[in-house]
């Protein structure tokens, strides 16, 4: 039984297409490595850069692989101005970026898919209202919407909870700026599905609309949702980096990749290139490979392209 499942999976079109695409395999390896690095950062990193008690300011600005002039400590990829090891900070920053990215996409997905299902299946003035809100939101650049939501949410959080809440506010802001894509696609697919015989049959036997939406329609619209989710993940990671780069995202004492790039930018003229370069390369590799994976997924799931 188990064996047959494995052979069936190994024989599937999906895997076949994956194994034929070198780009997809390469991207997958990169994403996998970065994910693993982020997940196991406490075991790989030399110290926890978010724990301020482990920082020694005298280690600041060490060049990669060169002993520090004051302390003699060595850092693989150098250290930043506060004495944080760049390698460890990248791992922790990656963890933060990925966490925010995944959570924001999950939030956008749940919200967008439910809105899209309701708009498509129920229709009427409810559907029209949801889609008009979506249209209006689409006229603003997503990053501006995220900044606006971030500003408002930060304003209404009690001052003594701001630091703990900062990450969640960030997730909310990015998620809310991104749900529209899901809603539009799901609504379109729902409109097609709801007139098919199996839905009509379910309706005839008296199933509750919510049951029909979730059990019958949802599984049939999930394909494109998965593709959008993958591409949204790359966008959410970049959105987080952009917000942090602009100084409105993660707190400075917990640098994400975007924060590191912002800090590093200040030292380009003075020759401390490593503070900027390595986090930027990591962000580039992550966003690029997630995007390539999404592209491949879109093609692999599209029956017309086979």
């Amino acid at each position: 039984m188990i064996k047959s499942t494995i052979t069936r999976t190994l024989d599937s079109d999906f895997l076949w297409s994956f194994r034929r695409s070198k780009l997809a395999m390469g991207s997958f390896v990169v994403v996998f490595l970065l994910l693993a690095g982020a997940l196991f950062s406490p075991f790989i990193a030399t110290h926890n850069p978010y724990d301020m008690t482990t920082l020694n300011l005298m280690n600041g600005f060490s060049a990669p692989m060169e002993p520090n002039a004051f302390t003699g400590d060595q850092f693989w990829l150098g250290s930043d101005g506060q004495g944080r090891d760049i390698f460890s900070t990248i791992l922790y920053g990656l963890r933060l970026s990925l966490f925010v990215g995944f959570m924001a996409v999950a939030f956008a997905l749940v919200l967008g898919v439910s809105m899209g299902l309701i708009a498509g299946y129920v229709g009427g003035w409810i559907g029209a209202t949801i889609m008009r809100i979506a249209d209006v939101q689409l006229t603003f650049p997503a990053i501006l919407v995220a900044m606006l939501i971030f500003g408002i949410a930060k304003g209404i959080t009690p001052v003594d909870m701001r630091e703990e809440m900062a990450i969640w506010v960030l997730i909310l802001a990015i998620g809310l700026s991104d749900w529209v894509q899901f809603a539009r696609v799901v609504r379109g697919a729902t409109l097609v599905e709801k007139n098919k015989e199996y839905v009509q049959a379910a309706r005839l036997i008296g199933r509750h609309p919510a049951f029909i939406m979730i059990r019958h329609i949802l599984p049939n619209v999930l394909g494109p949702v998965m593709v959008i989710a993958t591409i949204s993940l790359a966008l959410a990671i970049i959105a987080e980096a952009t917000l942090s780069y602009l100084g409105v995202g993660a707190p400075v004492t917990q640098p994400s990749l975007g924060t590191l790039i912002r800090i590093g930018q200040g030292f380009l003229f003075s020759g401390e290139w490593w503070i900027l370069l390595f986090p930027a390369l990591t962000l580039l590799a992550l966003a690029l490979s997630v995007n390539l994976l999404g592209d491949w997924l879109r093609d692999a799931l599209n029956p017309r392209l086979r």
């Binding site: 506060q82 004495g83 003594d160 004492t253 200040g266 003229f269 020759g271 401390e272």
Partner: protein
């Protein structure tokens, strides 16, 4: 109709071209990390504002290139037998809008700048009354003999009474805009032609200025550039002629570049940490709402021993700054040479002091910090947060631009904050009046004492310091005050900020330790 429009557009384009062509020769463009928050000379007592407005407005007296006091709108002045000072005003001076400058304007400006709505009222705490003698003579009567009063009002800028009243700006406004926060009418060598807060501010020479012209500028454009790397790039590419400050980390490389020069000195500014002496409870972090530990002197002393100033100076400040032990730098008059030792870096002692004060496991609190005001301010605060956490007190750092920073401090929204202070009078009495006196609006004292530090010895000594004529006795009292502040750890002075400007090679300028960019000494070659 259409052809008229086209024609007028052509003419407009032509004139615009001509104007640019003519102006380019002597247009001076400079950039700084901080935009002056207001164009009102009495609304915010901070260097970016006063330094900028020194080009537009003038005081009765001013400082020359060597910081010595000389006459400006007052031609001469003399003491009135220990009762105050008589100023003889310059005749024939006109404001930018053409109206005449008289003693009425001085009296009006005194009332405006010393009102409760003003941020400059502490300047006038020694004054009991101002009396007009005639159109060009005015008396400033003091409560006690005040030998340094004329030296202390170089930044007291005179506004036009008629203009201010006509534009509903008879009182300054710190945070809300009024006519005077966006427009000016001074007597200075330059007049404001365009003000876009946060974007660009343009000045042009005032043709009717009374003084002798020493510059060749026909137009001066100021742009705030918050990002240090961007400002260096703008200087290197020639987009601006001068930047203030040069990021410390870039100074060494800029010195080696052709076409630009670095002008450096020691600023009069001491960077320090301030505490909430008056607050009953902590406001931020996990311990928000619990009793305020900083009321205990041992906790404040622990902070002073926990911060490794030496490390900050070696790394973040790249060896370009000097440690500070008092509220003023050694270059100021009245500095206490015998108290030049700052608390040693000793995390063990800090932990011991915290334990003695009843905090063996430390506590959490909020540290407020500006991120566009002082050199590397945010990085310094991050380092301080890390050092404090190493002795067990966890700082939650919040950094923000000064535009929101000062209002937050005025609203008491901090558990600890970073402050830089440069005494406008270049005298050790100045920070006592602004930072160490018990805040008192009526007496115009302690207006920047955000933490409400209060000490009877300081409060009772200040009037004596202000009226003492004998330098030796005065120094003794200043030494005593400095000692009280050190023993109480009222503030934790960290270092004296260096002054680093960058300019294109073809710019001649004068750098004063007060960090003011004075346009009337600038020549574009």
């Amino acid at each position: 109709m259409k052809s008229t429009i086209t024609l007028s557009l052509c003419i407009a384009a032509l004139t615009a071209n001509l104007a640019v062509g003519a102006a380019n020769a002597e247009t001076f463009r400079w950039a700084s990390s901080t935009d002056p928050q207001t164009m009102d000379p009495h609304a915010v007592n901070s260097s970016p504002v006063l330094g900028f407005l020194n080009n537009v407005y003038e005081g009765l007296v001013r400082r020359d290139q060597a910081m010595a006091i000389e006459g400006a709108l007052a031609q001469s002045w003399e003491p009135l037998d220990d009762k105050g000072w008589r100023f003889h005003l310059r005749k024939g001076v006109k404001f930018h809008d053409g109206s005449d400058f008289t003693a009425e304007d001085v009296l009006f400006s005194y009332q405006r700048a010393s009102s409760e709505a003003a941020d400059t009222s502490s300047w006038f705490s020694p004054i009991s009354e101002v009396r007009i003698v005639d159109d060009h003579t005015i008396d400033f009567l003091t409560k006690a003999p005040n030998p340094i009063f004329p030296d202390s009002i170089a930044n007291f800028m005179i506004m036009d009474k008629g203009w201010s009243e006509a534009n509903n700006a008879a009182l300054p406004s710190k945070e809300v805009e009024n006519h005077a926060t966006l427009n000016t009418n001074g007597t200075g060598a330059f007049k404001l032609v365009d003000r876009q807060p946060g974007l660009k501010t343009v000045l042009e020479p005032h043709d009717g200025w009374w003084g002798e012209k020493q510059h060749n500028i026909t137009r001066a454009e100021f742009t705030p550039i918050q990002n240090p790397a961007t400002s260096v790039a703008a200087l290197l590419s020639g987009d601006v002629d001068m930047i203030n400050p040069v990021p410390i980390q870039d100074a060494a490389r800029l010195k080696e570049r052709d076409g630009v020069k670095v002008i450096d000195g020691i600023e009069a500014r001491v960077i320090m940490l301030g505490f909430p002496h008056g607050a009953d409870a902590l406001k931020y972090g996990a311990d928000a709402g619990k009793p305020n530990p900083f009321k205990d002197q041992r906790v404040r002393a622990a902070v002073s021993h926990a911060v490794n100033v030496d490390a900050i100076l070696k790394t973040i400040m790249r060896g370009a700054a000097q440690p500070a032990s008092q509220l003023v730098s050694p270059a100021m008059r009245g500095y206490s040479a015998s108290l030049s030792e700052r608390p040693a870096y000793d995390p063990e002692l800090a932990r011991k002091l915290l334990a003695e004060a009843g905090y063996p496991d430390g506590f959490s609190f909020g540290l407020k910090c500006p991120n566009d005001r002082y050199l590397n301010d945010e990085a310094v605060c991050q380092a301080i947060a890390a050092m404090l956490s190493q002795v067990g007190i966890k700082a939650e750092l919040e950094a923000m631009p000064v535009r929101t920073y000062w209002p937050e401090l005025r609203a008491d929204n901090f558990d600890m904050y970073l402050l830089g202070w440069s005494p406008g009078t270049f005298d050790a009495e100045h920070p006592l009046r602004f930072l160490a006196s018990t805040p008192n609006k009526e007496k115009k004292l302690g207006s920047w004492n955000f933490g409400d530090f209060s000490n009877i010895a300081i409060d009772s000594m200040l009037p004596n310091i202000q009226s003492e004529i004998d330098d030796g006795k005065r120094q003794m009292m200043l030494d005593h005050s400095a000692k009280v502040l050190q023993d109480e750890n009222a503030y934790v002075p960290l270092y004296v900020q260096p002054l680093v400007w960058g300019a294109r090679d073809n710019i001649d300028l004068t750098q004063r330790p007060d960090n003011f960019v004075i346009l009337r000494w600038i020549n574009v070659n």
